[in-house]
Structure formats: C-alpha cells, structure tokens
Symmetry: C2
Subunit: 122 residues, 2 copies
Amino acid sequence: ALTLAPSDVLVCPLRPVERFRDLCPEEVADLFRTAQRVGNVVEKHFCGTSLTFSIQDGPEAGQTVKHVHVHVLPRRAGDFSRNDDVYEELQRHDKDDSPDKWRTEEEMAAEAEILKKYFQEN
Amino acid sequence: ALTLAPSDVLVCPLRPVERFRDLCPEEVADLFRTAQRVGNVVEKHFCGTSLTFSIQDGPEAGQTVKHVHVHVLPRRAGDFSRNDDVYEELQRHDKDDSPDKWRTEEEMAAEAEILKKYFQEN
C-alpha cells in the first residue's frame, strides 16, 4: 500500500524500529546489502537504467508508517517529467492510501514469485 | 557545491565508484553505518526532528557527479512547504551549481571543526 508503483520495492529491517538510528550496526549493514541486491534485481526486471534509494526517516521527512523502510525504485529517462516528481508521488501515494487501492494477496504473491527467481539465480 | 543547504551533508565511500551496485558488501556496510552516525550528529546540531536519506543512483535518478553519495539532510516541521520540495531543491541546486556559489575553504573548514566535536564525544 505504501509503494509508489509496482516497481517500487520497500526494504525493511526485520526488527520493527521507528527510526534509522534505532538500528544496530549489523542491522544497518544487512538492510543496505539487501537493498543493494533488491536494487539490482528491480533495475533489471523493470528495464531501468538508474535507481532511487530513499528513507523518509521520521514524520518531518514524510514517514507515515513507523517502521524504517528503504524505498528502492528503478528509474529511466522520462519516467517523471521532473526527476523529483517521484518523491511527490511517494508522498501523495502515502496520503491517498486506502484499502480499495491495495493489490490483492494473489497479485502480490504472483509478483513475489516472479522477482524471487532473480534471487535464486545468484 | 552539491549540498542543498549548510545542513545537507554528503557521505561518500572512499573508493570513487559511480553506482551503488559497484560497492562491495563491506563498503555498503561502512557507508551506511557512517551515514547513520552523521545523521545523528546533523539532526542534533541543526535541531532537526527527522532525517531524509537519499541516493540519486545514476543519471536517470538525478545523479550529476559520478561518485556514489548519500544525502543526509536534517528535517523539521515547515522546512519545506511540501515535504518533497526538498528533492526539487536538491535537483535544482545541482543544476545551478557554479563556483561562485561555493563556500570558501575557510567556511567549510570552520564547519568541519564544529561538526567534528560531535564525533569526538563518542
């Protein structure tokens, strides 16, 4: 529900902390090594040529769910009329969130199956 | 020259790679453990209440300098009329970059001295 588009993947630490500073160094390492791998997969899968990584760390940075998460979004030329509209979309999408806009369990499971294959190849 | 404001700090890996995927896992861990520490310092020093972390990873994500860097920006209520104007400012600031807008070596050295104290306290 918090993703910008089917290609926006959220990477979260297992432990549900609110702020990035609450993670121990090992968790920080694990989080971003995972984000790096996920970035490689989604950039390839969605035919991107770049990636946007961002953490909205805290309410005044736009965080709406109190669990640290890294947005990993593949990018390509012309995907947003202005590069930073991507962040506006992030914010608006969070604000407009409602259950009727959520993908179904089946849709998400199917997507996970597709993406999972990339990780198994490694 | 690439920072948004005096409070925007860039954290870079020592090895000057172009894309986040080019970093080895140890470098990824080191980069974000550092970004975490820097975030704690600048949030406190600039009296922020949240942080924005972002990597513009590649040209289509707005990267203008081909050396991976993490933007760490302290945030507080009302700092940008819309949360995501911060990213627009990031992009515009990069585009408008010219030497006459750069701070002097003396200014940057003075700032580094102030911030350094926080790290020595740990």
